[in-house]
Each structure stands twice: as structure tokens, then as C-alpha cells.
């Protein structure tokens, strides 16, 4: 069937690609928001890899496979917390900078 026909390696390769894209994004982008989005991309690449591996391990036992999926959940929560904190810092910066232009978000440089 459809699910079984795609080998795990393909998913992992895709996730590696996404991860690399994210990493490149972090290293090349200058705007804080874009860097941040790139990091999110990397996290999601990791999630994809985890899910793919979990599916691959499903044959070895439910517990092993489930632990991978649970990890995805935890990582999602971690990512959410990061988003909240990151946005919080950004908002705090802009609140004090009295800037009225949203594009100024890109003014935060690394």
C-alpha cells in the first residue's frame, strides 16, 4: 500500500534537506524573524525524521515506535514555548523602540 511503499530513507533524506535549508536560512538571513522561521523549519525537519524513524521502528515493537511519536509531541511543545519566548522578546524590543513600522522587525540584526 501507499504508506509502506515509501522507504524510511526517503523521509529522512527529505528531513535532512529541510534541516539543511533551515540551517542555511539561519546563517544567511539577517532579519530576526526570518532566522526564527528558519529555526522552526529545522525543528520540523527533526520532527519529520522522528516520525519517519518511528514508522520504521514500528516493526521492532510498539513501545519503540511510540516513543518516537511522543518525542514529536514534546518537541512541538518545546517549539511552541520557543515561539512564545521569542515573540515576547521581539515585542518587548519594539515596544520600547517606539517604532511604528512592522518592517522594522527586520531591523533586529544578529
Amino acid at each position: 500500500m501507499f504508506d509502506a511503499s515509501v522507504p524510511t530513507e526517503y523521509y529522512v533524506a527529505l528531513s535532512a534537506l529541510i534541516f539543511a535549508l533551515g540551517a542555511v536560512g539561519v546563517l544567511t538571513r539577517k532579519s530576526a524573524i526570518m532566522v526564527f522561521l528558519s529555526v522552526e523549519l529545522m525543528l520540523n525537519a527533526a520532527n519529520l525524521a522522528l516520525v519517519a524513524f518511528a514508522r520504521g521502528w514500528a516493526a521492532a515493537g510498539t513501545e519503540i515506535a511510540l516513543s518516537g511519536q511522543v518525542a514529536v509531541f514534546i518537541i512541538l511543545a518545546v517549539a511552541a514555548a520557543e515561539v512564545a519566548v521569542g515573540l515576547g522578546i521581539l515585542v518587548a524590543i519594539f515596544r520600547y523602540r517606539h517604532s511604528t513600522d512592522v518592517d522594522n522587525l527586520s531591523g533586529v540584526r544578529l
Partner: protein, 487 residues
Amino acid sequence: MIDINWLTLAPPLALLVTACIGIVFGIGFRSTRPTALLSLVGVGVAFLFTVLLLGRSGAGETLSSFGLRYLADQAALTFNVVILLGTALTLFMSYTYLGRARLEHAEFYPLVLLSATGAMVMAAAGDFITLLLGLEILSLAVYVLSAWRQGVRESEEAGMKYFLLGAFASAFLIYGIALMYGATGHFTYAGVVALLSAEGFDQPLLAALGGVFILAGLAFKAAFAPFHQWAPDVYTGAPTPVTAFMSVVVKAAAFAALLRVFATVFPALGAVVPVIFAVLVGLTMVIGNLSALVQRSVKRMLAYSAVAHAGYLGLAVLAAGQGANSGAQAVVWYLLAYTLMNAGALAVMTLITDPNDHGDDLERLAGLGRTRPYLAALMAVFMLSLAGIPPLAGFVGKVLVFQAAIQAGYLELAVLGIVTSIVAVVYYFRVVGAMYFREAEYEPQRARSQMTNVALGVAALGTVLLGLLPGWWYGWLSVGGPLLAGF
């Protein structure tokens, strides 16, 4: 059913509960001082629990929770002591500082405690996911703390930079964990090691790659050389007590995690990870010390010196990775010493800089030996100890580290470490020189604080006592037993 041993979780839980109480009731008060005192109580309770557990663990009891995912073994508990010490010093330092610097927001202390909670979880992690959770609890709070000085460009940029790079690093860590899971199907160290060393393990490359990624993620937190760029800016931009917290507690947690992973999982991965790490360590020692050499700002110099010390700690971790138990002990010892002397140095800085942390140039310290003799004397002690001059704590730390490294066969790195610490003597001594050998050019800050004095006293006493009577503490802090429970 999941096995939960509440007693093993008690130290971090004590901090967590205190943080929760603080954050809910703290915003009712105008001053943050009640929260600070509450936090100190929380740290004290956590410390008592840690001591209790240490006693039990010393009696040979295996303490863990969640099926070896949370280990309260000797190593974790000794790291807890270091973490709690660093946290307490930070609290003492912040007590008056926050009001002086107009940074009094109720959330400060709860965030510090939360961060310390994360650090303890990291130290106790027996599982990559626990490690990740600890790391995030730790980091998220510190991101906010480093941007605490709102409306000041340096602090905001410090927070933003730390956050973005930190998130980047955790992405690496997470991806590494994913790869490791892909190779072995486990998250617990015990499970991973069991599979890695099992017959017919067919994914060594994937596992090694995962190891490298995990290493990169942790190396960032520990500020190893190519990943250290955030450190100077963040350390300079953050309020000084936060800098102290970062350089002490965050570092302790990072090395606790690194040590455990290094001593358990990495040896099973083959030679490549230790080799990469050895290169990182060498780079860190060189770059950290050379960069510190050219700084004029003391805080910035301390930031680079923190990088350099990460190198020495890394050397001990490397030794521990080779199975030398003395390496693990050297890590704990060095961290304890570093906690005392670096927190002490930064505590001095809080008293001699402006309320907004400016004025930490070397020139500003000129003549301090005359204008504020006691403070200068303490600073001199901390500087000399950081430089590794006997008979202070830093020296014993260095001896233990180099000794362990040489024993584990890293003679070249040990020589490099000693050569770089010669360089280090110059920049630390420059501070001493400025304080004593030069005339004052500026009116010194007259900030005083009883609570900071407590921190200073503890730090100085510890620095001296650790140096003079290391044997007393060494036995007590010894990381007895294997680092990997379940074997």
C-alpha cells in the same frame, strides 16, 4: 504504570514550586525582595533534599525515576550542589542590584529558579528527551533574563541573539536526537548504549552523525569555540547577575549533560566524536584566551575567559570520555571552583559599575586598591584564582584537569592548555595591576549591599578554602560510581 520516585524529584520540584508561588504572588508586591527571600528559602529546601539524597546515594542506593530517564545518582547530585550554589550566589547578587538598576520586576527570581530547575533536570537526565526538556526549561528562562534590561540596546540584542542562536543550537540537538533514535530506536542512554554495543548493530554512521549533532548542540550551550560567538555579546549585554548566572549555572548544566553523554553514549560511537571534541577543546582554549587578551572591558574579558574555561572543562570531559573517573571528578571540581570565583568576580563588578552596568573598563578599575581596598582585595583573589595561581581554588582545578587529561593520553592538549593559561595570567593580572599599580582616574562607584557582601564572602572563602584544603572537598564531591545507571 510509570515509576515515579518523588523523593528523587524533590530538589528540582522544590525550586519549581517556589518559582510557581513566587510568580503567582510576587506580582502583588511592589518590591521584589520578598520574592528573593522566598527564592532563597526554595534553594535552601532544594539543597536539603539534595543532601538527603546524597546521603542515600552514598549508602549505595540507586535513585532514579521514570525508568532511568531521571537519575539522581552521585554525579547528578553533586552537580545539583554546584547549580544550587551558583543560583544562591546569583540571588544574593541580585537582591540590591535589581533595585539599583531599576530592573525590579516580580518575574526575575521565579525565572532564575525555573532556569535552575532546568539545569538540575539536565544534570539528572538519563534520557535524551529529558535532557532536551531540561535544556529548554533552562534556556527559555535565560533568554528572557538576558534581555531583562528593556529599552537598552545591548541587553535586547543580547536576548535576541542568545535566543536565536540558542534555538538554532537546540535544533541541532533535537535533530541529533532524532538521528540517534533512528539509529538505535531508543532515547534513554542505557538503551542507546545497549544497542550501540550490541552484536550486529548496522547503523554506526547514522549514530555517529547523531552524536556529532548532539555534540554541536551541547557545545553551543557550553560556549565551545566555533559556537562561542554569542557569549561575549550576551555576557556583556545581560545584567551582571544574569551574566553570573549564565556563566555559572548554565555552564554547569551544559557540562553535566556533556559529561554524562560523553562518558556513556559517545564512547560507543567510535573515535570520531572524541576527536572532533578534542579539536573543539583546543580551539576553545586558544581562541578564548587570545580573545580575552585584547579586551579592555572587564565584563567582556570575563566573557571570553568563560569561553577559555569551557575549554579546560572540556579537557576534563574528554578525559572522562576515555574512562578516566578522575576526569569526571575534575569537571565537578573545576565547575565548583569556577562557580565561586567567577560569580565572585562578577559580584564585585556589580558594585563597581554604574547602575546600567557601564563603566567596566580597565581604566575604571584603576586605583581601586586605594579607593575600595577590601573590594579590590577580593577581586584580586578571584582574578588570581581564575588565572590558576596557587594556592587558590582555580589552581587545584587546573591541576586536576591537566592531570586527568594527561592520564587519559591527551598530553598535547594538556600542554596547549597550560601554555594558554600562561596567556590567561597576563589578562587576569592586568586587572590586578590596574587596581593596585595605577592611580585612580575616576570617582569610584560607591554602591554597597549587604546581600552582595554575603555572596562575596561565600565566594572568597570558598575560593581560598578550596585551594588550601582541597582534600576535604574533593572526597565529598567525588562522582563515585558509574555515570550510567542501569548497568
